[in-house]
Amino acid sequence: MKNHYSAFAVAREALRNHTGWQRAWRRAQPKARYDVIIVGAGGHGLATAYYLGKRFGITNVAVLEKGWLGGGNTGRNTTIIRSNYLQDPSAAIYEKSRSLYETLSQDLNYNVMFSPRGVMMLAQTEHEVRGYQRTAHANALQGVKTEFISPRQVKELCPIIRLDGPRYPVLGALWQERGGTARHDAVAWGYARACSDMGMDIIQQCEVTGVRSEGGRVVGVDTTKGAIGCDKLGIVVAGHSGVMAEKAGFRLPIESVALQALVSEPIKPVMDVVVMANTVHGYMSQSDKGEMVIGGGADGYNNYTQRGSFHHVEETVRALIETFPMLSRLKMLRWWGGIVDMTGDRSPILSKTPLEGCFINCGWGTGGFKAIPGSGWGMAELIAKGHSPLTDAFSLDRFREGRFIDESVAAGVAH
């Protein structure tokens, strides 16, 4: 049984030289068979496992990870959390997710540092003004609290912003007061700890190399640690979804491209909201350490190298400097990329697949960190019961049937 984390535990351990802390999750070796195997220990895979146990009592579960837990996009993103999407199914799953974030630290007994500091999406063209006003009206009908604010309000919330840039003037913003950020690693670690505590096995450095089936039904997987049997399989591998789907014998409407981010040297607090500027593909927040966390645009071509093209960073930084002139003297400290899984309508896929017993959760693209709790909540139901009100609209057959959940109209980028 794990330690319970609390102020009391910190004090107790301080008195005994921190000898009483235990591993947050067990190091596990694969068993011969599980009820459910989840491929991919990113946030979405771990949250799926967690809610399988918590909501449906299914705990004979393994989460298999080829690298280290949270080392994919979950550990590479800029952690923006918001739920003011345009379409109804999106608003439902993203708002469920955002609301779960509100109490996630308590639920997991793990501080995920959810910071609802407010997210503003700048409108810098007339087209964007109209688009965001439309989203604000849609959100009002969906019960998602968000509003369109004036340039003056933008300046009050974010004094370092320059409103009247000649190329990118700020004409207003879509503002979600209870949006914000969370600590990405902590989200993965917190779910992993809770899963392990329910008796689930989280097996790192275990790559799934094949999917076994009999008579059109999944029966297990081949891995670098041997064959493992299962009743049900959940594929939750983001950028590698196409590769895994091929092993399971079906195709996906997904392309994998690099998305990049960078952070500056730490400075004193200058900005206590999250600002997104979708026209120029740039978005920024300040971390608790003081670094400016900056995300850029996605590359235009398929890539698996977790390395993007320099000119995207240059474009993002050039535009951000115009909107935030005080950034121009900052040195950038780190720069990295992740491989994001893009669908045609920029909405995710949470679905059954042509292989009976095999489910897929992918297509979160550039914006799935915010969705981790909600996606896990719905995906667990989908695996346990065969459908979920939260995920039904996101099924794979929507492309054939023309039921798109078109979020690409709402924002060029979706973070």
């Binding site: 590698h240 196409g242 590769v243 195709r251 996906l252 409407p253 997904i254 392309e255 994998s256 235009g300 071509y301 398929n302 890539n303 698996y304 190298t305 390395r307 093209s309 320099f310 000119h311 669908t343 045609g344 492309f399 054939r400």
Partner: protein, 112 residues
């Protein structure tokens, strides 16, 4: 930085000079096609971790569309070739086979 040599004007163009155009050699489906054909034509794209064929445009140069063969796992470029063809030239396929034995992409492979 990705650098592709334009097969028309011969310029070794870096990425900012080029515009990506997605998967190469698509079969276009029109009126009379069934749902599955439209679905795959409109939304399903090859997404290999390895050898890939793409369309590119020398947008800030001679303006011409062309094809490129690339490895998405290493960013190595195998070669480029003109747009007016429905399949990669034999010499390029052989060059890829030398570097990636056993490769395959849609109906093309080391053998064909």
């Amino acid at each position: 930085m990705l650098i592709l040599t334009c097969p028309y004007c011969g310029v070794a163009a870096e990425e900012t000079e080029l515009a990506p155009g997605g998967e190469a050699h698509l079969t276009r489906f029109g009126p009379g096609s069934d749902d599955a054909e439209f679905e795959s034509y409109l939304f399903y794209r090859e997404n290999p971790k390895g050898v890939h064929f793409e369309r590119w445009r020398h947008a800030n140069g001679c303006g011409k569309w062309f094809h490129a063969a690339r490895c998405t796992n290493t960013l190595e470029v195998f070669g480029t070739y003109p747009a007016q063809t429905t399949e990669p030239p034999a010499a390029l396929r052989e060059a890829i086979s030398a570097k990636r034995p056993g490769w395959s992409w849609r109906s093309f492979s080391e053998e064909t």
